[in-house]
Symmetry: C2
Subunit: 275 residues, 2 copies
């Protein structure tokens, strides 16, 4: 089998940039980005990017460094993705069979990493810079006992949460705010002002005690969703009033927000583009 | 903390038999039953029973052999349970606090094994002999690509399945039949006649491409559900007619049935009792 035949989904040779939609179970990865060695042990750290780049390089028989991978959201260690978007530049003069490329990648990487779509990127398209918004979902199991089948993908909160309070507390995040209280500091001089387009708890599904929070923003600061969820849960448990959320935002002081929700309940759900 | 205080749910000292409802992720267990060593390596094989008994013995400070554990369904390696029922005889003269016992077990075993309920068993109650029926569910992901978040708990079948054919093929299993064609032989002279109370595909949920088969029977033969599901899937894929199911049943010949569906899609869902 060669990937350079004409086939189901040929990419024009003039546009060697591919757009991949990728889902992954983040449990056993040290986050999406990087292929750097562990500073303590010197051993290579296992990342989604490193794993994906190695597979692409092997399938396409090119150097990993040549791919120039860019992603829409650099998820942290343990965070999952259903709709991560990635662009890669494939230095080839031939015509790629993209359906076969996708199949070969999924055979190597699935079911831990699954390439859901693989298409030729439009002219000038960049997974990060072209993104209009990102949507994250955070899942909580709110029951007295944990759930063996949700344990990898949801935060177990045994104390009872009031959904009405959770909903009230979620509202104030919509709009343009300085999220300094709800994120870890980035590089010196970088802004923590972000625009949240929606912030809501989804209507309950069939399974009792499963709560899902969804937030959409143009972009997010580091650990912003987990910090917001951790604070919302304190409101749901009655330890904070929903009205406090705006005050915490205005304080700009991270110590006023709640504890960070654990990474395994978080999932990069969808990324929106104009094209 | 002592478990022998009077407390939330005291068991009468005259009935030292407990009834536990247990959920578990079977992925990393060699099935429910047994604590026997591996015949090849001599190392102890990790089972749900062995893990549960060790925790009970540690919490109650008694010998593991004294517990006389009995379960409703001896699930195979890799099979999960949501509603396994277990009875254990606790040789103690004190009054047990069953809520605390449950909490202590879940702290040690969760979220891989979760004790969902722990109550005093009624007089003469036995998890296996008192059971009136067992219900198993089998989940299939029927999409061109695997699903990272369902991979542990569902069988990925990429070829398209016709739900109407799956439904037609499921019907003939209801009733009393000799299931010799759909199970592995038990001990010499044991019967393979079983009574199936219902056999159906559940109405689809919100998630596209997730198919769930549910079968309820008074009791099951070894590997019966996986053999039925493997054969149903061949009907759904168009490689068999639904009308063949009765003929396979009547043949009594295991080579006429389909291949065995993998264990990880199977879950012991619920066990029914009169009391």
């Amino acid at each position: 089998m060669t990937l350079f035949d004409a086939g189901g989904g040929p990419a024009p040779a003039s546009s060697p940039r591919l757009r991949l939609v990728v889902a992954y179970d983040g449990t056993d990865f040290h986050g999406f980005a990087g292929q750097r060695p562990d500073p303590e042990t010197g051993a290579a750290v296992r990342t989604v990017e490193g794993t994906l780049v190695a597979a692409l390089a092997r399938v396409l028989r090119i150097e990993p460094d040549a791919l120039g991978l860019v992603c829409a959201g650099r998820t942290d260690a343990g965070v999952h993705a259903r709709g991560q978007v990635v662009t890669v530049d494939v230095p080839t003069e031939g015509v790629l069979d993209l359906d076969r490329l996708r199949g070969a990648l999924n055979k190597m990487l699935g079911p831990e990493i699954v390439v859901r779509a693989c298409t030729a990127a439009p002219e000038g398209f960049d997974a990060r810079r072209s993104a209009r918004w990102r949507t994250y979902r955070y899942t909580i199991v709110n029951r007295p006992e944990p759930d063996p089948f949700r344990a990898r993908y949801a935060w177990w909160v045994p104390e009872p949460l009031e959904v009405a309070q959770l909903r009230l507390a979620a509202d104030p995040f919509v709009g343009e705010h300085d999220f300094a209280s709800f994120c870890r500091k980035g590089p010196e001089g970088s802004t923590t002002v972000r625009t949240v387009l929606s912030s809501r708890w989804l209507a309950p599904g069939l399974e009792e005690g499963v709560l899902t929070y969804e937030i959409r923003a143009r972009a997010f600061c580091w650990q912003m969703v987990r910090s917001i969820v951790g604070t919302l849960v304190e409101a749901g448990a009655g330890r904070r009033r929903p009205g406090e959320m705006l005050a915490i935002l205005h304080s700009g002081d991270r110590s006023h927000a709640g504890r960070l929700a654990p990474p395994h309940g978080l999932c990069l759900w969808e990324v929106g583009y104009e094209q």
